[in-house]
Symmetry: C2
Subunit: 532 residues, 2 copies
């Protein structure tokens, strides 16, 4: 028996508690259907038994391919309840990418939305480990191959209570595959302990309370919804499900359900602010944003609509958010532009995370001068356990005793970090660092440009020089030199690209990330390294 | 080296973080003196070094005898920073009681307020383990025997950074001696892990935020201030020190410092509500109350002044609070009496605690019928590690795999616990249980009564009958039969006391707990047992 004074930390305890304290409170709203906390716990319990009856054992992986539905949410409890591991797969991936993840994770069961399962038909016969596919049919779509109806799966379960505990808090609770711009996908392992602590961090930093009505704009397959699946459940808030990010529907739900909180990437906020339905929030709303540095413009736009913005930053490898742009005394007296500029920084570590550092290649802290670039590294309870079945990748990511984000930032004198580049996409020209994000921002501000990518290319004299690949808007024209002149009008001249190549499209992953390595492959052919 | 993904949980990390994020924000206010978070961390660091230089090693106990001063607060970080153990002693104890605690804890150093040290003079020569006494002189009092000035202690230290970490999260961070109404004091051991988790629980349940201005009405020597020493520091709030509980001063500080939160026992709230300075709170104030079941009367009085009441319950053995009376949907629509009556219950477990149970003598859950009495038992991360150097007492307290509170409660159908008696102070009359708390509540609702205590007295026919000891308000009069009639108007007749004895004062411990055993001693003279 374990010590009286120790329980293994697990987010399972959160659903147990909320079902004891608020059995009749609405836990989930989805398309007008409501689920109480008692029913949510009962559903998770039945699912756990059903998985066991289906041969899913401790440590086995159960894959889910679902939009933000009640079933996807409840799987965050029902799967770990029998000490199994949840693998929530990005629904935007290609069938082939999904096949690779299913095989790599070794999942034996796949539970999916029938419409999404239908698109998997071409790869179904190639799956190596999946032995049963369960279909949740909400749209009347036939997957086109034999599946078990979700109701039949649940019918194998029972309502006998299961303990909401885990035998070891460092047991893996979920594996989240990164979409990675290069190479094979990597399975990021979360522990019960890490999920528990990050969920408390989300409650504190996003200011959740019993009155939270949380709208699921963020996919649950992204870092288990930044652990908000567990956090909002812990605080006894109400989850409002959303199958697809649609500005009109989001605005409608904000009004009809009294939404108080949501998490969203800046691109989603841009869509909301520019939707015809945009209006002042009818109740106080807290928006936690991450995924890319939000521009001061969008921060101010959302504040003008009455929202409180919380800016957080992290990676799949850090359970989602790892830093938060904490406010300072006097912040309320800043003018709108100062507030937005302050809030655009990534900030400082979560209350449950170890201090975040910005380091040079020797793992030494860079100067806190808001200028020196370094890599963001993290450690502690908010960092993944490692990559599943990828010891070498884990060792590499953890070299020097810290997780290497690959993200490039400056460190302000006040200890706040400020991202300058994702994935080391930096150009070092004559010893001067050039942020490709900065150059890209300048280029897309040209009225004819739709999107672009800037990479480093080798250069005899300067070592490296930036080169831009530009896609123009339909029906628009701009020469390379026009674009270079435009950048020179905005940035130091040395930052302007030497070459601009107008292309019809940029190479992208299935999630829309630009694959700069494809561009670099071409430009660096014949070179041993890709930095000069 | 430890894993990249694991840091040992410790509240030390909270001060590190706040000193990084808000170095210039006011951490502490005391008599007009303000201390920033950077200074607080520097002070704790210097103290840590000074303790090491004074021969205090890992695991050694350092005793403090101080009112709620900045030094007492900072010791909560400086002492564990060098893996030593803080023993904060109740300043209201007698010199002899303090001597017993010092010897039992084996503390080698005692740091004390010079005025409090002066009162220790009679026992100083008898101390078995203390080799150095450090004096903090804020009142110009000479202890009357040789001590080291606090400044001299700090001068032995240095400003070299120390890691804000612990080697094992289950290491003891503090020992809190219970004031117990009988027998020898017991040293309750807290761990870094438990303190960390409870501190997060306090933040969530008392609704603390960066804007918290927390007034120290609760002694820091009580359960390390219910872990609020660590919690308010974690959230970056401001601590407002208070040397003595004085209603006039509390009201003055609420106004002058913009106090938003304080913790206090119901007796303190009664004093505040009846003080001539009482007025509507000038800003929203959250009062977290515990220590005895608050009467609906005082809850309503504080709500009428504009406060939000959070009712929590726990013991020294549970890091202070362990349960909270969580609100339910619709609570805001309750009328004032319903709200107060609801809030008077002890409620449900903290978000960081395992479910609290009410059990019979065989450790079986009692019926949730709001009537059956049972003992409150707890387990999990919010329960002490054990009693220091008292294995037998620990084994007894943990029998059956749960911590035995000794408190008697009923369990409501909605899973909320509701205390009926502390320490089994129950009257069994003709086979019917009578809760002395219930009877006491009825008596104090009489307009002439200041306070009272009800105990069981032996009775020929019924086995036991309740007897009341009553203190009247100044200038008020009420006969015993008047009071009995008043109770009969509120409760079943058999619950009314047979006898009412009007007394000038009730016997109390140094912390203000009524010593019912003193009353019982008299009433049960000549009997072998104290239950009939």
């Amino acid at each position: 028996m374990t010590a009286v004074y120790r329980s293994e930390l697990t987010p399972l305890a959160f659903l147990e508690r909320s079902s004891i304290v608020w059995p009749h409170k609405t836990a989930v709203i989805s398309d007008g259907r409501t689920i109480s906390y008692a029913d949510m716990a009962a559903h998770a319990t039945r699912l756990g038994h059903a998985l066991t009856a289906s041969g899913v054992g401790s440590g086995d992986r159960v894959a889910y391919l679902c939009p933000n539905t009640p079933e996807m949410l409840i799987a965050h409890f029902g799967v770990p309840l029998v000490q199994a591991v949840l693998v929530a797969i990005n629904t935007r991936l290609s069938p082939e990418e999904i096949r690779v993840i299913l095989d790599h994770s070794g999942a034996t069961m796949l539970v999916g939305d029938s419409a999404l399962l239908a698109s998997l038909a071409p790869v179904i016969r190639d799956l190596e480990t999946v032995t049963e596919i369960v279909s949740i049919d909400e749209t009347g779509t036939d997957p086109g191959y034999p599946t078990t109806p979700y109701a039949d799966l649940l019918a194998r379960g029972s309502d006998a209570p299961l303990p909401w505990t885990v035998d070891d808090e460092e047991r893996t609770i979920s594996i989240n595959y990164t979409s990675g711009t290069t190479g094979q996908p990597k399975g990021v392992m979360y522990t019960h302990r890490g999920a528990y602590l990050n969920a408390l961090g989300e409650i504190i930093h996003s200011h959740h309370s019993l009155d939270s009505v949380y709208l699921w704009t963020l996919p649950m397959f992204h870092c288990n919804g930044w652990c908000t699946t567990w956090g909002v459940t812990a605080i006894g808030g109400t989850h409002v499900c959303l199958r697809q990010v649609d500005a009109a529907e989001i605005w409608a739900l904000i009004d009809s359900e009294g939404v108080t909180h949501f998490n969203a990437a800046p691109t989603v906020l841009i869509g909301l602010a520019n939707a015809p339905e945009a209006h002042r929030f009818p109740q106080p709303v807290t928006i936690t944003t991450a995924g890319a540095p939000p521009s001061p413009t969008i921060i101010q736009a959302m504040e003008d609509l009455g929202a409180t913005i919380v800016h957080v930053y992290g990676l799949t490898e850090t359970y989602g958010p790892h830093t938060v742009c904490e406010l300072q005394p006097g912040f309320a007296e800043f003018d709108a532009a100062e507030r937005a500029s302050f809030l655009a920084r990534q900030g400082v570590s979560y209350i449950t995370a170890d201090p975040t550092r910005v380091v040079d290649d020797d793992m030494v802290d860079v100067d806190k001068d808001a200028e020196t670039l370094g890599e963001v590294v993290m450690r502690g309870n908010n960092v993944m356990k490692g990559y599943f079945a990828s010891e070498e990748a884990t060792r590499d990511a953890f070299r020097g005793g810290e997780f290497h984000s690959g993200d490039i930032a400056v460190w302000h004198p006040d200890n706040y970090i400020d991202l300058r580049d994702r994935s080391k996409d930096i150009v070092i020209s004559g010893g001067e660092n050039i942020s490709t994000i900065e150059v890209e921002r300048a280029i897309v501000s040209h009225p004819s440009v739709l999107e672009c990518a800037v990479i480093a290319t080798p250069h005899e004299k300067w070592g490296e020089r930036p080169k831009a690949f530009v896609v123009l808007k339909e029906g628009q024209h701009a020469s390379g030199s026009e674009i270079v002149d435009h950048v020179r009008g905005l940035l130091a001249h040395f930052k302007a690209p030497d070459t601009v190549e107008v292309v019809l499209e940029l190479p992208k992953t299935s999630t829309g990330k630009i694959q700069k390595y494809v561009l670099r492959d071409k430009e660096w052919a014949g070179h041993d390294r890709r930095v000069n």
